[in-house]
Each structure stands twice: as C-alpha cells, then as structure tokens.
C-alpha cells in the first residue's frame, strides 16, 4: 500500500468567520485546572478503585506463576504439601477475582459519574455565560455561531468527558501498574519491555500529528452529506419548481465523494498505526519470553517469574489499546473546549448601576455609528421622541432604519454623539435596566420549547396565572389559548402544539404587556406574516402600543400614516421629518410613495 495524501478539499474549513472569540490556550488550561479542582475527589476515587482492580487482576498470573514453579520443582515427594498450596492459591485466586469484578464495576461506574458530572458542569457553565452576553454582541454576532457551539461542540465534548477522560486515566494507571507489577515480579526483566518503546513513540507521533484534524474533516464531510440531503428535503417544493432534482443528486454525490476521500485518508492513517501497535505487543511479549527464557536458563530468575511476566505482558494489550483509542478524542475535545471557553472571554457588559433615567424623553444627539471602522451607517442623526408619541422611520432597505432603531433601544452605543433616555445615556445603563424601560420588538417572534406559561412568564418572573390570562386577553389571544387542551400548561414550541405565526406574534405581544416597558421600538414586527393575518394582529398590537412611546420601523405605509411623526431615512441621514399631512403637502419622496401606494 502506498501512502495516501490528505484530500485537497477540507469540509471542516470554516466558510464564515467565527463571530465569537475562541479561547486562547492559556484560558483553556486554566479552565481545565479549575475543572480538575472541582472534581478532585471523584478523580482520586476513580484512580483508587482502578488501582485495586488492576492489582487484583494481576493476582491470577502471579498465583499461576507460583503454581507452575511448584509443578516444575515438585515431583511426587511434596505431593501433599503441593495440594494444600494449590487449594490456598485457588482460594486466593477466587477472592482476587471477586475483588476484581466488584472494583471493575466501580471503575466503570465512577468513571461515568465523574464524566457526567464534568459534562453537566461544562454545559451548564456555557449556557450561563451565553445568556449573560451583552445584547449588542448578540445582535452583531447573531446566534448561529453560539448555536453551533452548544450543539456540535458540546456533543464532541460529551464523548471526551463521558469516555475519553475516565478511560484514559484508567488506561494510564492500568499500564503503569502492569509495568510496575512486571518490575516487581522479575526485576531483571523490566528493561526488556523498553525495547518496544521507540517503535511505539515513533508510530504514535506520526499518527497523532495527522489524526485529529483528519477526523475533524471526516466528521464534517459526513455531516455535509446529511446536510445536503436535509436541505433537499426542506426545499422540496423549490427543488421541484426549479427542476433542480438532478443537481441535488449530483451535489449529494459530490459530498459523498468528498466525505469518502477523507474516510480513505483516515483509513490509511490507521493502516499505519495498527501494525505498529501489533508490533509493539508482539515485541513486548517476545522480549519478555526470549530474554526471560535466557535468564531462566542462566538461573537468574525462575520459571514462575517468567510465566507471570509473560502473562502480564499479554495483559498490556488492553490498557495500551484504551489509551490509543481515546487519545485523539481528547485532542478533538481540546478544540471544542477552546470554542466553549472562548465565550467566557467576552466581557459581560456590566453597565453603570448609578445611571438612571429621569423621565421618558428619548433623544439622539448628533449620532454617528458604523459596524466597521471608517464606514458609518448613520451620520449626524439627531432626533427627539417625546413621551407617548409615535415616530415612524421609513426609507428604502439598507438606509439605516433598523440600525437607528437599535441605537434608540440601547443595543448599540453610538460611535460619537449620544442617545439618552430621560437624560441618561442608554449605552452606559445596565442591560436589565434598559429593558425595563425600552423593548425592541423584531420579526423574531420566537416561541420557546416549553409550556405556554413559561413562554409568558419570562417577561415577568413570578407572575400569577390571572396576570398571564389578562395579558393574553389584552392581545386577543385568550380565546385560542383557552381552547388549548392543557391551557397554560400546554407544551408549545418545536415538538409541542404548533402555533400559527400570528399566534406566535401574539405571544410576543403578550410578553410586552407583561414586561410593560414605556417605550417600544418595533422593527418590521408583523412583516413576515400573511398580510391578512397581519391585519388582525395590528389590532392586538395597537392595544399594546396604547399609552407608550413608539418608534416604528415602518414597512408598510399605513403604519407611517398612523404615526404622529414620520422620519424618512435615506443613506444614513434623516431626509424628511414631519407628520403625514406635512410630508404629503411638502411633496417630497414620501408624498410620491404615498400616492403610488394609495392609488
């Protein structure tokens, strides 16, 4: 077999940048140390029971060695004595066996308990960190990267924590004890096993330099096969309408080709590793038997010692296999751990507890803002929203309406200038305080997996059922909600009772009623709905808006028409500002659009 080069296409290569940081090696090391400190007792316990199990497992070969010695020495003369010795040995053997069985069970169990506890800590830690991320970071980075970390990376770590860490510690202790046992049984023989070490080290170094990244690519390639198919299924209508069936089949086959190319490469890697490991085992056994045999012939050790040593040498197969099996899993886990720990590197946005708003006036003063250095999306925007008024932002896509809305909701801080609420700067306020005053409502009307009650209570923790029903009633949602089989206990969200988009949006509105902020920023809140469903929803919405200050990023002109003040945003600036009638009279861009829309 000739060498196989790694395939040129790497499915694990990132197609988009990490939007969140990845932990530096030092951070990862510190985290691992902390993890160890937290679980030191369980870890030491595992090593302890493992030691007992391994020592008990060596009793068999040791006793057999003694018996062999007896048989080899003894001839008929010591027959009676030998019998007694035999029975004692068998008794000891049986005892050791029971101890070994009990402790092997404990090793498996303790290993799993330790692994599961570490894993639970890790995933809970990560979610705690994730929900503490500043809203600005989330808006900017999106939740995609975070989502892939909590699914893919936690999955990979699950294997490592559940199996690799306990199994590796078992394997290392086991191998060390066996080698120790060999050294105790027949001290002159111990160096014999060193002959195999260089082969093992060279082979493993070659393999482990290539294996982790190759396995990552292989796994990504396999996932890509399934992903291509899932997409074809998901897009069934589109695929058929555009006659893309053949292309999707070719695409799937291309993915199969890319994946199997990596399978072929990793198979080659193992085709090198396997003979090395086999050679090591045979070398160890061979050197113990031949060198030991010569030593026995020379009279330096006896037959019993040789037998015990040979049997122990054979037992080395298991721990070595265990170590090699799980070592690369640990390397893969390291990468995932770095991605999880990376989230800890983001400064939680503490805010200044002393910054409190005095009043409800929202004011933007000479605001400049851009997502990237040197490119401002908003330029010199000044705006005042008086309490209780409705401001509509209109303008073409990409003009900066949504960005302005997010600045007014305190999610982003302006590059220069100020956005204040009641005279206090929003960007310096604590996120928890900001949201008790201002809420951003966007197209994302996420219904969480769980009960309807949980879905509402998140807005006011500890709310009574009566308050929840009142909130549902306020958005005209109580009729269908009462029709649900289990009322507030009904499981909704993916996998539960399916809600229509309109119902989901009503839940989002009911949350607003519960959270009760005095200012709302609406970003195309109803735009993804069917126009007719949207109309009924607007009735619910209008009740929620009643008495609050509203900044609406208007999507449909009727929303703008209903507003007290309309700001036409174009190219990062406010071009026109005034009431509907003012703007129509002014006969500018807004007026032209209104005429066209209204017919």
């Amino acid at each position: 077999m000739i060498g196989v080069v790694p395939p040129a296409y790497d499915p694990a290569a990132p197609t988009t940048a990490n939007t969140l940081p990845v932990g530096a090696p030092a951070t990862v090391r510190a985290y691992v140390r902390e993890l160890y400190r937290r679980h030191r007792r369980a870890f030491l316990l595992l090593v302890g029971v493992n030691t007992v199990a391994v020592v008990a497992s060596m009793t068999g070969p040791y006793l057999l060695g003694g018996l062999i010695q007896d048989v080899a020495d003894g001839t008929g003369a010591a027959g009676a004595l030998s019998d007694l010795h035999l029975e004692r040995s068998i008794g000891l053997f049986a005892l050791a066996l029971v101890v070994q069985a009990v402790f092997v069970r404990q090793v498996r169990l303790r290993g799993a308990m330790l692994g599961e506890q570490m894993l639970a800590d890790l995933r809970e830690d990560f979610l705690v960190r994730s929900v503490g991320l500043p809203p600005g970071v989330l808006e900017r980075a999106g939740t995609g990267d975070l989502l892939s970390r909590i699914t893919t990376d936690i999955d990979r770590l699950a294997n490592a924590m559940r199996e690799a860490v306990p199994q590796l510690s078992i394997g290392v202790v086991w191998a060390a004890l066996l080698i120790g046992g060999l050294a105790v049984t027949a001290p002159p023989l111990a160096p014999a096993i060193l002959i195999a070490v260089p082969v093992l080290v060279l082979g493993c170094r070659w393999y482990f330099k290539r294996a982790p990244s190759a396995y990552r690519s292989e796994a990504a390639g396999y996932a890509a096969v399934a992903a291509a198919l899932a997409e074809t299924v998901d897009a069934g209508r589109t695929v058929e309408a555009h006659r893309l069936g053949d292309r999707r089949v070719r695409m799937s086959e291309q993915r199969v080709k890319e994946w199997t190319a990596w399978e072929r490469y990793t198979l080659f890697l193992r085709s090198v590793l396997f003979p090395v490991i086999n050679a090591v085992h045979v070398l160890v056994l061979l050197s113990v038997l031949l060198i030991g045999g010569v030593f026995v012939l020379q009279g330096w050790i006896d037959v019993g010692q040789l037998t015990t040593s040979a049997l122990i040498a054979q037992m080395l197969v298991d721990p070595v296999g265990l170590i090699l099996r799980w070592y690369d899993e640990l390397q893969v886990a390291q990468v995932s751990l770095a991605r999880l720990v990376g989230v800890r590197d983001i400064e939680p946005d503490a805010g200044d507890a002393s910054v409190r708003p005095d009043g409800r006036d929202v004011l933007a003063d000479e605001v400049n803002f851009g997502y990237r250095e040197g490119v401002d999306v908003l330029r010199k925007v000044s705006l005042e929203v008086e309490p209780g008024t409705r401001l509509a932002l209109v303008g073409p896509s990409g003009a900066g309406k949504s960005t302005l809305g997010r600045l007014l909701a305190g999610i982003y801080a302006p590059r220069t200038g100020q956005v204040t609420l009641g005279g206090a700067e929003l960007s310096r306020m604590q996120a928890e305080r900001v949201r008790s005053h201002v809420a951003l409502v966007n197209q994302e009307h996420h219904v969480f997996v769980g009960s309807l009650r949980d879905n509402l209570r998140l807005a006011r923790t500890g709310a009574e059922d009566a308050e929840l029903w009142a909130a549902l009633g306020a958005v005209d949602a109580d009729a269908w909600a009462r029709g649900l089989d289990d009322g507030l206990d009904t499981e909704v969200g993916s996998g539960g009772t399916a809600l229509t988009p309109a119902q989901a949006q009503q839940i989002a509105l009911a949350r607003l009623v519960l959270a009760d902020p005095h200012t709302l920023v609406l970003d195309e809140a109803t735009s993804l709905l069917d126009p007719r469903a949207a109309r009924n929803l607007e009735r619910s919405l209008s009740r929620v808006l009643d008495g609050r200050t509203v900044v609406a990023i208007a999507h449909r002109l009727h929303t703008a028409h209903d507003a007290d003040v309309i700001a036409v945003v174009e190219d990062g600036r406010i071009r026109e500002l005034g009431s509907h009638d003012d703007l129509v009279a002014a006969d500018g861009a807004y007026a032209a659009l209104w005429r066209s829309w209204h017919g």
Partner: protein, 631 residues
C-alpha cells in the same frame, strides 16, 4: 468496490419491502467485500488464538532447559505476530470499506428518492424520516454491515480453538469447550435492558440539547425582555436529568463489565485448579497448562464480538425498517389516462376551477381574500399540484380539472415539461446554500442574465451586504447560508425573486413575492419585474396596491370564483369587497364604507383610536374565524 471509486455511478434498485430484506439486499451487493473481510478476520483471530501456544511452547522449552526450542518458540511468535498485524489491519480495512460503501449507497439512494419525491415530501410526515435515516440510521446500518464479517470470523475462531484445545489437551479442552458458550451468551439477557437505558439517556440528552439550542436561538428575545433565570433553571434541571439517566445506564453497563470479568475468571480458576492437578500428576506438561490458561485469557477478545453483533442487529433493524419505508415512497404523477407526449405549450394560462385567466404575454395580478385559497391556487396553476397527494392516482370523477396552458392540460404533461412551462414561486421559497453564482445557476431559458434579474428584483443592498461577508469582495462568490438565514426576510424574498426571473419560464406565477419588502423597494420591484417580463406571461398573487397598480389587469377571486376583472384603480372604486382586501380598512370601516357607499371611503383612522373601540366582543369571534382559516 474500493472507497476511491465512490460514489456509485448507479446505487441500484433497493429491495425495500422490509427492513431485513433491505439489509439482505445491501449484503448481497457487497458479498465479495464480506468474504474478504471474513477471510482476513479468520487469519487475525486464529493468529491471536495461536499466540498462547507460542507462549506455552516457550515456557515448556525453558522448563526443559532447551535453548534451541526457546528460539523456535520465538520464531513462531514472530510469525504469529506478522499474521496478527496483517490480519488486524486488513480486517479493519475491509470491514470499514464495507460500512463506508454501504453508507454511501444508502445516502445516494436517499438523495435520488428525495429528488424524485420533490414537493410531495414536504406534504408528508416522511420529510422528518428521510432526515432521520440520513443522519442516524445510516450509521447503525453501517455498523451492522461492518460487524457482521468480524463476528463470523470471531465465531469460527472460537469454535476452531475449542476443537483445537480438545484435540491438543482433551481433559482441559473439554472444560473450556463447555465454558465458552456460557461465556458467549451470559450477558445477552442483560443487553436489552442496558440498551433501553442507553436509549433513555440519549432521549434525555436530545431533550437537553434541544432546550439549550432553543434557548440560544431565542436568546435575543430573552436578553431583550428578561427571563434568563427561568430558562437557566429549566436547562439545569434537564441537564441533571441527563446526568442521572447516564449514571443509571452506566450502572447496567458496569454490571455487564463485572460479569465479563467474573465469568472468564471462574473458567480460568477451574482450568488452573484442574490443570495444576493434572500437571502435578504428570498427565499434562507445564507448557500445556500455560497454553490453556492464556487461551482462555485471550479468547475473551473474539467473544466480545458476540455481544457486539447482538447489539448491532437490535439497533440496525428498526433503522433498516425506516430506511426501507422511506425508499419505498413514490410519487405518482401519471394521470389515469396516461401522459401526453407534447412539447412545452404556449398561450393563455387558465384555471377552470376558479375561472382565473392570465392572458399570454401580460402581467396579471390575482387578489384572493383568503390566503389559504391563494396558496392552493398558486400550487394548481403549475399543474401536478403537490397538495393533491399523488401517492394514489387521482380519481378522475372527483379530481379538480387541470389548469390549461394554451389549451393543454398541465396535469397530463410529464412533470418535468409542466415545470418547464410554468414556474410557481410559492410563498416560502427556499434559498439553497452555496454561493450567489450557484444560487442563480438554475435551469433557464438563458435569455435573462443574472445581473439583469438581480437589478429587477432590487438586490443592490443584498449584494453590498454579501460583498462584506465574501472572502474576496465579490458578492457573486459570497456564500448564502442554509435557507439564507444570514439575510433578512426581505433580502431573502428578493434573491428568490431574482432566481425565478433568471429561469425565465413561459409562465411565471409569483405568490406574495414582496410581502416582507418595504414600500419603497416594492414599488421599484413592481416596475423592474414588469419591464423584465415584458411579452411573457406573469401572474402575481398579491394584495399590495403597489404591485396591483402596475399590473396589466387584476383578477379578484372571492369565495373560490372570479368575482371581478379590471384595472386596480377602477376596481378600488367599483368593488367594495376588493377594496376591503387591498386597502387597510378594518372590518368596522368596511361596514361603514358599505353603508355610505363607494364615495364614503376613508383611509383609516389612527390605530390608537381603533384600539379604544376594539374591546367589543365581535373581535374575538373574528379572530377565531381567522385562525381556522390560516391553520
């Protein structure tokens, strides 16, 4: 079959009558691979089993004080070592090749089946099943396929060794031969319970992952409005449930491990006790005793394959069952009367069911009060509607009449021809992941360039956004993520529209193509589409005045039939029901407008004042009705 030859040029026609039959079919297709794997496995296991003989021979040589026989034993062990290494490596290579070729074949079959089912898939429960087969079941099927030949080799080896031992050392050999089957079968009764617990753990873990990803997906909502602690508590509970389920499962597996230590150990003690007595009496030699002892020790290794195959089969059977079910799905598009053999027709697009007529070469807008009906109408306009599940041939007596294009019933044309003639862009078109170039590379007439289509669909700002995300600043090379999730709803809609425009079909049907686009842009899109599609048949289902105003003609459908035809401006004035749908009047206002006549039309009051009147009970019933319609 080599891995490097994958994918299969043709994955074949599977026997999908049942799970076991499907497994059998897969096995028959890689019979050569299975036999190769079996042969290498036999070499490997028998060499491993031969090792104790070498060890025993060496110890006996030392007892006898023979250096030359010790050297011979060494040579024997080297020989066995080479056989073990070759056998191990080649067994692994052949077995893994079996699993990869089987997995690749199943994935290819799934891809072909999915493409053939097309739109019918989304209507069925099967959509989730196809994905489940591809993500989970293929691996389990592959596992069984891979383990099968290893098991066969191991089983043969165990039998051979037992027979060998009986011949080599009858007294001890019989003990081992009796003990082995017990060892092989001892833990089998425990396996179902252990796998059930493992399943339970997996289920809990899946639930926890779902909760975590759901929390993260809705994190912006949580951070915007609160409730983080509520969801963290919930996740902590789920996470601890996973931990407890995993430990419960580990209890069972650790018991199995203990039994796997205890039983061979007991056999070993019997062998030693009996063997030493035999040796003491001089009936067997020391070397023979060591051989039997290490044989028992080493036989544990092939024995493990008995458990593996039992587990692999119990896991893979339901998987194969599901795969077979999915692969047996069919979409029948052939009508009872057979297919017409015709080219792509041209002419007016006419739906006899509703009476909607879209004259050839013109831009017709269709207004439908009921969004559900609009969706069904759009679906029907393309022929072979997916909503009529074609798993059973339509009964001609009750079937809806087919839509006609230039007088030709589309349902009677081959599916591919019908799709070529009419492109229906549904309300939720999916953007397939890939670069923008790949997205717009669809089968088309070739006369509309991608840049023209992008310009008509007003995609300039999408291109800007994509250029930023692109590695080389060329938006055409920027990657669009799955379902275009990185783009806003409006951006997705405009890209989908551009893709439909590139296709440039004989007749293009667009269902609410701009519902998520702002008014400024919508007006420009209306103009762009109109210009680009000049002289081609286009149907737009919409209620947006900006689009309606630019259509050549408007058809108003009410209660499933055409109620009025004309121009937007005229219909607004003359048809109150039409006005109710396309303007933003509330129902109360419609009532007012109806009472005061067409001239009493108002443009709607402030939503605040509407809210104050909105507490009447009439609204609740109205919403109830609406939910039924949209559900």
């Amino acid at each position: 079959m080599q891995i490097s030859d994958l994918p299969y040029p043709d994955p074949g026609v599977p026997d999908a009558r049942s799970g076991p039959r499907f497994l059998l079919w897969l096995g028959r297709n890689q019979l050569g691979g299975q036999l190769k794997s079996l042969a290498w496995g036999l070499l490997h296991f028998s060499a491993v089993a031969g090792l104790p003989y070498g060890v025993g021979y060496a110890v006996q040589a030392v007892v006898d004080g023979s250096g030359s026989r010790l050297a011979a034993a060494g040579a024997l062990i080297v020989l066995l070592g080479v056989a073990i290494a070759c056998g191990d490596t080649m067994l692994h290579r052949t077995a893994v090749t079996n699993w990869i070729t089987a997995a690749a074949r199943v994935q290819q079959l799934l891809a072909r089946r999915t493409a053939a089912l097309g739109a019918a898939l989304t209507r069925r429960v099967a959509a989730g099943e196809v994905v489940a087969v591809s993500t989970g079941d293929v691996e389990k099927i592959g596992w069984f396929v891979e383990a099968l030949s290893r098991f066969a080799a191991a089983a043969l080896t165990v039998v051979l060794v037992c027979v060998g031992l009986v011949i080599y050392q009858p007294a001890l050999g019989v003990v081992v031969a009796i003990g082995m089957p017990v060892l092989a079968l001892a833990v089998l009764p425990l396996l179902p319970r252990a796998t059930r617990r493992a399943d339970h753990q997996r289920e809990k873990a899946g639930r926890a992952t779902e909760l975590a990803s759901d929390t993260v997906a809705g994190l912006r909502v949580l951070r915007g409005i609160g409730g983080e602690e509520l969801f963290l508590d919930r996740y902590r509970r789920a996470s601890q449930e996973v931990r407890r389920a995993a430990v419960r499962s580990a209890r069972m597996w650790s018991l199995i491990s203990a039994i796997q230590v205890l039983l061979p150990g007991l056999l070993m003690i019997v062998v030693v006790w009996y063997g030493v007595r035999l040796a003491g009496e001089g009936r067997i030699s020391v070397g023979e005793l060591v051989t039997v002892y290490s044989a028992v020790m080493i036989l544990n290794y092939p024995l493990r394959h008995f458990e593996e195959i039992a587990m692999a089969y119990s896991f893979s059977r339901p998987s194969a069952q599901r795969a077979a079910r999915v692969l047996a799905l069919e979409r029948i598009t052939e009508p009872a009367g057979g297919l017409r053999d015709a080219g792509v027709p041209t002419g007016d697009l006419f739906d006899p069911e509703t009476g909607v007529l879209a004259p050839a070469g013109r831009l017709t807008a269709v207004v439908c009060g009921d969004p559900d009906l609009a969706g069904r109408l759009a679906d029907r306009l393309g022929g072979h509607p997916a909503s009529r599940d074609a798993s059973e041939p339509a009964d001609p007596a009750v079937a809806e009449p087919s839509v006609l294009l230039g007088g030709v019933p589309l349902d009677e044309l081959p599916l591919d021809v019908a799709r070529t003639a009419v492109l229906v862009q549904d309300k939720d078109p999916v953007l397939l992941s890939g670069t923008l170039t790949e997205l717009l590379d669809v089968p088309s007439s070739g006369s509309v360039r991608p840049d023209e289509a992008l310009a008509a669909a007003q995609c300039t700002d999408v291109l800007d956004a994509l250029a930023q995300a692109s590695l080389d600043d060329d938006p055409m090379n920027a990657r669009i993520t799955e379902r275009g999730r990185s783009l806003s709803g409006g951006q997705r809609q405009r890209l989908a529209l551009a893709r439909s425009l590139v296709t440039d079909p004989e007749a293009l049907v667009l269902d609410e193509p701009t519902s998520a686009v702002d008014s400024h842009t919508e007006a420009r899109i209306a103009q762009g589409v109109r210009t680009l599609r000049r002289g081609r048949t286009t149907v737009v289902l919409t209620s947006s005045p900006l689009l309606l105003d630019r259509a050549d003609g408007v058809v108003f459908v009410h209660d499933g039939r055409v109620a009025a035809v004309g121009e937007h401006r005229d219909l607004v004035r003359s048809e109150p029901r039409y006005r109710a749908v396309v303007t933003r009047e509330t129902d109360e206002e419609t009532a007012v407008a109806a009472r005061t006549g067409p001239t009493g039309f108002t443009t709607g009051t402030g939503s605040g004042s509407r809210a104050s009147t909105g507490t009447s009970t009439g609204i609740d019933t109205d919403i109830e009705i609406d939910i039924e319609e949209t559900a």
